[in-house]
Amino acid sequence: MIKVEGLSKHFGQFCAVNDISFSVQPGEVLGFLGPNGAGKSTTMKMLTGFLTPSSGVISLAGHNVIAQPVAAQKILGYLPEGAPAYSDMTARASLEFVGKVRGFVGQELKQKIAEVAEQVALESVLDKRVETLSKGYRRRLGLAQAIIHDPKVLILDEPTDGLDPNQKHQVRKLIKNLAEDKIVIVSTHILEEVTAVCTRAMILSSGKILFDGTPEQLAAKSDYHNAVNVRSEDLNPELLMQLEALELVTEVERVSDTQIMIKPVAGASVLADVNKILHANAVAIDALHVEAGRLDDVFRTLTLGGEQSL
């Protein structure tokens, strides 16, 4: 498990990470969310032993990352931001290099390379030079070098950045499959990714943790959490008034001529009440569903300190 206590990083006057503490258990997929410059990458670089913290303690499965970086790096796989790789090597040579450093030789090394290449669907380009690979393949090569030794802790800095939707889906599926007994930390600024792969979300902004909980809890902070979305041709002002008069309803939002959104007070459910009124008025409903919450609203509210929240 990972334990972080009082972690800070200053670059001159600038404070990139400001006294954060958290711990992660095996099996968790933790998503770091936050605007650019929030301190996500800096935190990850410190977790991997690349950057030395200004203060604080990081323990990775019992190894102190600052005092014994090599011991920690042995059980760690890391995909740096932008998936850097030596451009003059082939994909296979890159994996051989990393595999050798990880202690594999001979037949075992070949076996491992074949395995990861299959896992990330890299077989077709194994003998091409890295500089000729597309962004998607480069990212997958980065992933492959991070997971070749089946690490206990996997840290991925924006693993799906720049990938097309199919590739994104593939990478997310891969992360989910890997995650069973591992600790995975993913940074992203794509909110849908959090619900797609993470069991836990952490929002960072200006080097501080603003939120730490499950994606569901994050969604529950939204005004739209449990809001009832109704689509129908029969939406008349009188009906809207009736809905607005409901005790637990804060607002009925007119999304379009044929669609409304009924927002409840925080934590309440209004589906049953709304349903009753719709039935009583014999409204022909085209579609009706309950919103889980809008992550981007929550994200904006949290990271902008409420100033410009919608």
Partner: protein, 244 residues
């Protein structure tokens, strides 16, 4: 040691997977031929030795070694691969040493490829092969000194051109520090020990001693200490600058 050899192998194969290695070797061999036969007037001298070649080697290295050294760390920092290798379970020392040794072996290979010169003088006369061997060792040690310095400078800058020029200037200072041009600046006001220290810092003083065929332990220690010191400085610089 295993980590060092993995890095060394990767680096060496990187040299030969691009045209850089071949261009370097061809230019080195061509220039050493030009210097030896035209400027050094090997035939006209009528002596069966390679001093015509070894007199020019320090100046050749002054330009060519920084050009090998400049990419050692600048390139890693610019392309971001430094983050990849420094989060692998390897110490900074292993990385610095592996990269240095690869470059040093590569330069050594270029030096060995000047063997036709050696064959020529042996065909033309009967030179003292002990002296020639000593001079080759000396030249390689000197290249190591230049290279270690260049490695440190390369770690300082993401820009290869800056690294090249800076290490060329520093190497130049180290080469000429025993020359009158530098000594004159200090003589007359600086205490004698400063002047002595300066001249004993000179690459050329130590290289000339070895290339005369006298492998004095002090000269060897000088170059090894030079290499060790600059590599140590490289480790420190990398630990400070890697994330910039």
């Amino acid at each position: 040691m295993k980590g060092v050899s993995i890095i060394l192998n990767r680096e060496l194969s990187a040299y030969f997977s691009t045209p850089v290695a071949y261009i370097f070797i061809v230019i080195f061999l061509m220039l050493s031929g030009v210097f030896t036969f035209y400027l050094g007037q090997m035939f006209e001298r009528g002596q069966a030795d390679l001093s015509a070649f070894f007199n020019f080697v320090p100046w050749l290295y002054l330009v060519l070694v920084p050009s090998v050294a400049m990419r050692l760390w600048s390139e890693e920092r610019r392309s971001g691969t430094i983050e990849l290798i420094m989060t692998l379970p390897l110490t900074t020392w292993q990385l610095v040493l592996g990269k240095f040794l690869a470059a040093w072996l590569f330069i050594g290979l270029a030096l060995v490829l000047t063997f036709p010169l050696w064959l020529s003088v042996n065909y033309l006369g009967s030179p003292d092969n002990g002296v020639i061997f000593g001079a080759y060792i000396g030249a390689w040690l000197m290249a190591g000194g230049f290279l270690a310095l260049g490695s440190c400078v390369s770690a300082l800058s993401k820009n290869q051109i800056v690294a090249f020029i800076l290490s060329l200037v520093l190497c130049f200072v180290l080469v000429v520090s025993g020359f009158p041009i530098v000594q004159d600046v200090f003589s007359g006001w600086a205490p004698l020990w400063v002047i002595d220290a300066l001249s004993s810092m000179s690459f050329l003083t130590h290289f000339n001693a070895i290339s005369r065929g006298v492998i004095d332990l002090r000269d060897v220690v000088y170059f090894l200490a030079m290499i060790g010191t600059w590599l140590y400085a490289t480790v420190i610089v990398i630990d400070i600058k890697k994330a910039d």
